[in-house]
Symmetry: C2
Subunit: 516 residues, 2 copies
């Protein structure tokens, strides 16, 4: 069989059965092999950044890799921003990149580029196939590398001649990938001693520790010791709501973040790194915990924080989890101005349990998210800060979990970077509802300008943060790509539109025009 087919079949044998692709000539053997390996689902995206972001969303939900397929260096280039986010999310992804045939490469044809250089910023594991016969072996190695732990983007570069020549037989899958290591008892005992200091001690959770089991254990620890529990703001996924123990999410800006962490003398990290601010600012330090606060590691990002928390709860003598203290959903907003609170109330009232929320609201998020506290949902926040994450991550989450409602809460500025995701949602008939927060400006930049000491915003600078003039018409953006769209300008209109969207299946977009 060809190297391409061997590669594809090895992926399938290792449980990688989804490939998000934007192929070109050098990948046609791989595409052709789809018809001989029906276990592999190929999903076409019209821009590579959609592929990489969707693979990230898929991995965040299933904690196993999808493959991506990109065409040579420039194709990979388009995928890099969302691979950066995937890297920060520690999402396992197998990134397949086609390359010119080895005989053609020395001739510096137009598409020739240093693919390894493109990959280096997002991948620690990069391999260029050296011969067709290693297709199976190195594909298996790429899948193993993607799993980590922690998960990562593993890049396999495939010269075209190794796709079209004989690649031998596929490599069978291993029965299970190694589990993350469980921290030893000494670290658990040390953490328990710290927890017993009460409210001057904190736990900071990230990675898998923010899913249900980890949160239940953390809640038991907090109840037993009085220690405080924080969530990494930039983690891949947070299970939230419906009475589940809710850690404090560290605020975005450094002043409230420092206030939230004030008084801590010890912070125990669970799959987390020490908290730092998103940007540096003149005259401010980058760390957020009090300067005298000691950092301890219960579990590294490569270890099993959930198991560590369970052991820690036992060590602390914590009681079994108390019955969930549920809170009530908000009342629907009355009709009136379409404020962020009104949107938050509507979503909090109508979102079905078990939904997935892809969040790239940027400046709108702080006012919306608290309203969702009564609903059990999976929150997929910004991880790496590369703009254009929200729609592709929602797409990938919907491919991973076809039976869950997916809601993308998305700023208008951010949505423009990877708007091509809507087309794939339409083609695959995915149950994704996109809400565009249309404030028609890069509001976060208006805020940040003042913070960087750049002074008052003059008219020419203001124009660079103003994405009105002309206003984007999001209904047309959606309809152009086969997604039903609707514009809402009052709270009542939004409630009606969102209610219908929750009641029906299939992709749709709601533009929420915010007061400027």
């Amino acid at each position: 069989m060809t190297g391409a087919e061997c590669l594809l079949r090895t992926l399938v044998a290792h449980g990688v059965d989804l490939c998000l692709m934007n192929p070109g000539t050098s990948e046609m053997q791989f595409v052709s092999a789809l018809d001989r390996a029906p276990e592999m689902r190929g999903v076409l995206c019209l821009f590579e950044g959609v592929c990489s972001g969707a693979a990230d969303g898929y991995a965040r939900m299933l904690r196993r890799p999808a493959a991506t397929l990109a065409h040579l260096g420039p194709g990979l280039g388009n995928a890099l921003a969302n691979f950066h986010n995937a890297r920060k999310a520690r999402s396992p992804v197998v990134s397949i990149v086609g390359e010119h045939s080895t005989a053609h490469l020395p001739y510096n044809a137009p598409l020739t580029a240093d693919i390894t250089a493109f990959a280096r910023g997002v991948s620690c594991w990069i391999h260029t196939l050296a011969r067709a016969e290693e297709s199976g072996e190195m594909t298996a190695a790429a899948v193993r590398a993607a799993y980590g732990p922690p998960g990562q983007v593993a890049t396999l570069i495939v010269p075209a001649d190794f796709s079209w020549s004989d690649g031998g037989e596929p490599v069978e899958g291993v029965s299970a990938f190694p589990n993350a290591a469980v921290p030893d008892a000494r670290r658990v005992r040390q953490a328990a001693m710290i927890m017993n200091r009460g409210s001057r001690a904190g736990l900071l959770l990230s990675g898998g520790a923010l899913l249900e089991s980890g949160l239940v254990a953390a809640g038991r620890i907090a109840a037993a010791t009085g220690a405080r529990v924080f969530a990494d703001r930039f983690a891949a996924r947070l299970t939230r709501g419906g009475g589940l123990f809710a850690p404090e999410r560290i605020p975005y800006f450094p002043e409230p973040a420092e206030a939230a962490l004030a008084g801590l003398e010890d912070l125990v990290l669970v799959e987390a790194e020490q908290p730092v601010s998103f940007f540096g600012y003149p005259g401010r330090r980058s760390t957020l915990a009090p300067e005298a606060c000691r950092m301890h590691t219960l579990a590294t990002p490569a270890e099993d924080g959930t198991a560590a928390l369970a052991a820690l709860a036992e060590e602390c003598g914590a009681s079994p989890a108390a019955p969930h203290a549920t809170c009530d959903r908000p009342l629907l907003p009355g009709d009136g101005a379409l404020t962020l609170d009104a949107i938050g109330r509507a979503i909090g009232a109508l979102l079905p349990d078990g939904a997935i929320v892809s969040d790239e609201m940027v400046s709108s998020g702080e006012r919306v998210l608290p309203w969702l506290a009564a609903v059990r949902h999976h929150h997929l926040p910004v991880t790496g800060g590369a703009i254009g994450q929200g729609l592709p991550v929602a797409l990938g989450a919907a491919l991973a979990c076809p039976d869950r409602k997916v809601v993308a809460l998305e700023a208008d500025g951010s949505a423009m970077y990877t708007l091509q995701a809507l087309w794939t949602m339409a083609r695959e008939r995915l149950d994704v509802v996109t809400v565009i927060f249309a404030n028609r400006r890069y509001r976060i930049l208006e805020i940040e300008t003042r913070r960087t000491g750049a002074g008052e915003i003059g008219p020419r600078a203001a124009a660079m943060m103003d994405i009105g003039q002309p206003d984007l018409d999001w209904v047309k953006v959606a309809e152009a790509q086969g997604v039903a769209g609707e514009r809402t300008e009052t709270a009542g209109e939004f409630v009606d539109a969102f209610r219908r969207a929750m009641a029906e299946r299939g992709p749709r977009l709601i533009e929420a025009v915010l007061d400027r």
Copy 2:
């Protein structure tokens, strides 16, 4: 003054007075300085690939650099595909990339990435500011590096603290950048001896040699010696039509390319490299000229091929240029099916002299371009093959040449990668008419699949080349971004729409729905 203002003023002092930007927090000092340096025009793009492609288009027309401004590694990542094209076009560009403040960088905040790694694939000149005080000096160095020759993408990475602290005074511009060297008389004499072998000898032109002066000289040489003259298919710009001497453009696929070059015993390169095929294929060599054909260099890409051609014409004893032999414009097509020939005829009949044609038609181009031969125009073809070039290059060309009509001839698949260019065309009220060739598939891939030996295209593979289901609605894509759009499905409708577009100013889009 701040480092950012010093940087900006140094750019202006060196003649760089356009900045295509998609800024973020770390670049706010630069944005703020726009209000203190009104000589710099800031143009906002909603995706970084539009910035890089527009800088390429600008440089192709004016042969001097614009600046681009991107936000950290991921922002640069989004710009890479079109920087790849700019690199292959040898376009001078000054790429400014913001970086975290030096104090913040060690903390591995979410947006932290290896910017140099991202830049390496497209830039030979990369410098990270080491202190604020070198802002002026290193900005001047970046501009010089961008000019080359040959032109290149010079990347200057600017930590935020060097933007907000005192950067000293701007560096004054040099009065002129060094001209490309003129090849010496020995090489000219050698080339003349080869030319005198007649039709077994050829000249291959690229770079600046494809503009009017170079073509006039090449035409004189051909008339005097009978030597054949070829155009690099992937050059940055070709002046064409209206009776100007027309070199043979080397075909895309290797079989017709080899046929076009058959019989050559010597090929003299003028700012060109030896011709090679775009992709490698099983059992085919990569070079296109006959295997025995000797390669000679009259002018390297770093040298002045136009001056070399003028000298060569004298050395060959060529007569002064003959009066232009003009040919007639095609007749308008009658109404009927909207074929590629009908579109070509309509454009050839109606395009104004002096227009700029940005060409990313991909599989449609061969049938359309010949009809434009009677009109003097500037043809901006695909250079590096990274998809998504056409609309941004058209945007940049329109910023460079506001008094010329710009027509983007664009495949539907390719247009999706950087469709955000339309918004900036609307905002800046640029006179760009985009024609979308909507065949609703990646037609080139259907052709290439067979060529790579991948055999018959099965239904699952075919789906990966089919960008219908759902069909894209290009009128809505345009209107969503403030550009007037119109769908045409017959030759008559296309003629009417294109005629109106030529008669009026301002951005518009015509979707040409092709028979499938």
